[in-house]
Symmetry: C2
DNA sequence: CTTCAGGTACGATTCAAGTCGTACCTGAAG
DNA sequence: CTTCAGGTACGACTTGAATCGTACCTGAAG
């Protein structure tokens, strides 16, 4: 029952180019914006984002995010979980998640 | 003699998607990394970056950076100047330039 | 004036990326 | 067992972006 975590790069190995390429796509940025705005960092289902694209394309986008080191994907066989790698991102690229959070619909307010 | 400043978006109109798309390219990110690391924010020539690409392609890349609102281009007719829009970027996307500066060859040292 | 370096405009080419169709796998629920 | 929803693998298509060739413009220096 315990899903296995699909591999991604180590925290130190995160590449800014890969991160920017990942965030250049609107759908992926939408996912990251919502993940950054959710401070609970709870594991979420892949279809909790209501992306207006086919499931094959969703698979592709989540894979890109994982290979960029931005999320963890937990494979349960017939479903999949997604979790933001907040600590690793914050350590390697401090401030990046704040930029994304500021793009959240209700998240532009400075604190 | 006074070059005219080629237009770009206003500070408030900077789009994070366009910025990420601009920074996704290695050559453009190389330019921005060096601009971010140079705290003098002086105007620089376009060929002061030693990009290993043709001049037509350089024109294309600098245009993308300008249209994303990251740089100003000053047209003198037969040459061109480039200046980082540090204040506007810092206002709209605080911390972004620090991320780029950290990628600078000698700029990874935390303060 | 002519020459020349820096830059642009336009088009063509090449390549990467987003998208989806078809087929298949996986685990849970009947 | 069968059924079904969620997900993946593979291939094909399409679009956008990076690159460059050719031609032309601009201003400065002879």
């Amino acid at each position: 029952m315990a899903g296995k975590n699909l591999g991604g790069p180590e925290a130190d190995a995160l590449d800014l180019g890969a991160v920017f390429r990942a965030l250049a796509d609107e759908h992926r940025r939408s996912v990251m914006t919502r993940l950054a705005a959710d401070r609970s960092d709870s594991e979420r289902g892949c279809n909790s984002f209501d992306l207006p694209i086919s499931k094959q394309t969703q698979t592709h986008h989540f894979r890109v995010l994982r290979e960029a080191g931005l999320i963890d994907e937990i494979d349960y066989g017939n479903r999949k979980g997604v979790r933001l790698r907040r600590a690793d991102i914050e350590k390697r690229f401090p401030g990046l998640l704040a930029l994304l959070e500021a793009e959240s619909p209700g998240g532009a307010a400075p604190r």
